[in-house]
Assembly symmetry: C2
């Protein structure tokens, strides 16, 4: 018996916090056939709420330092406002959405990041994903909507990178489903020329990736994204697609990592 | 075959927003054997956040007016901060908690309250509870933790009374389980003398309730609570217990409505 398919979609905070782009995203997400999961970010809206509350946003190398006050903010914004808005909007489209953090049903357990040169505070690095619990829900027709928060199993919520959560979720589901992982971002895909949206590289293999790095075509934030993508393939995920959110209804577009 | 039992516990916001009383509550809740659900309020913490954000809290007859800004606040506080803290704390006690609002898996669908003399804003009156979806989760060993928010099926979150949500949840589960509904509040139970915690009325039947009302012993906010309790009994709930949260580990105490 061949395994059922599932599509794990990760979208950034930028798309989900604007009502118009969120509605478009959910309409497109709704068109994806079969089993699916949405993992969302929520960065800017947390910064906005923090500002209104007089909580200082501290970043080191683009990563948020999560002290007690900031943990409250991200728990409210990611786990409450953003997550529940998406759930209600999907239910209005007859998608049986269930909002979750990693703490809910213990689906994603993390270690609090150890303090080395930087103390990131209440930030988690995923150590275990509970694919079995998610698979049961999915087999009942539930569509999990996952906020970028995990827990440490000792009662603490941890702020967690949404890309990593999507990757770990996809890997944990590979035992139960044929998994396609879709990273949505602001560009059409991995570009040969970052200023030319027509220069999408349609397929990246390990060999091509090595030469793209050597030639300086793949640089910066795209390197961890692609490293992460190959790691999920190693763990049994069938395909990773890096594409624009507006391409969700046509997954033949974008960059296919194989 | 006799039906399995379930205990539906409702606790107010006051208990869950203080770390010490929350921890005591969850330790006691953990001791309840068998299937269980926790429905929580969250009143004061929403008011506090609203204050910090400069959002005005408007109350009419003790009920919160929920405009756009206040809806954001309650979605963040009830659905995010309070709910996820409870979930993480229960997971730390090896309880397989799943935080939900009425929108999640469409478990509680409401109508936005019609505007009569007062416009309550984004406030919902429950019209349908999905006992089947909850029963499936419970039969898998999941412990739902429900925040006082529902949805209208058209994409809107609605602020909803936690007592009502607990009652509607209990009623919907009566088809699947033998349900005990426990309302926790600050007193030992329904008291003959409100200043004497030793004057708990151990059992209230319909007949006794009628005479207690006549004699002016049951007054004020206790009347809707008891009316609500008898309505759930009419709908198949086996027993309603009104008690102090600290009595959760001994449900022979408090007032038993039968």
């Amino acid at each position: 018996m061949s395994m059922e398919k599932i599509t794990v979609v990760k979208v950034g905070g930028k798309i989900v916090e604007d009502e118009q782009s969120l509605n478009q995203l959910l309409t497109d997400f709704n068109k994806i056939e079969g089993n699916k999961i949405l993992v969302h970010g929520g960065g800017r809206s947390a910064t906005k709420l923090a500002e209104r509350l007089g909580v200082e946003t501290k970043m080191v190398d683009g990563r948020r330092i999560t002290d007690d006050a900031m943990l409250e903010v991200v728990t409210m914004v990611y786990g409450g406002l953003v997550n529940k808005r998406i759930v209600a909007a999907l239910q209005a489209r007859s998608v049986n959405a269930l909002g979750m953090t990693g703490a809910d049903m213990n689906i994603l357990l993390s270690d609090k990041r150890p303090v080395k040169t930087v103390d990131y505070g209440w930030v988690g690095d995923v150590k275990q994903a509970n694919g079995g619990a998610l698979a049961k829900l999915i087999n009942e027709g539930v569509v999990p909507v996952i906020a970028p928060l995990t827990h440490d199993g000792m009662g603490h919520i941890l702020n967690t990178n949404a890309d990593t959560m999507a990757g770990e979720t996809a890997k944990a589901l590979a035992e139960h489903f044929e998994v396609t992982l879709v990273y949505c971002f602001e560009k059409e895909g991995v570009l040969r020329d970052e200023n030319d949206d027509n220069s999408v590289i349609p397929e990246i293999t390990r060999e091509l990736y090595a030469s793209l790095k050597e030639d300086g075509i793949v640089v910066g934030g795209m390197i961890p994204k692609l490293d992460n993508s190959f790691a999920t393939l190693d763990a049994g995920v069938k395909e990773v697609i890096i594409t624009k959110a507006s391409n969700l209804c046509d997954l033949t577009r974008g960059t296919h990592v194989k």
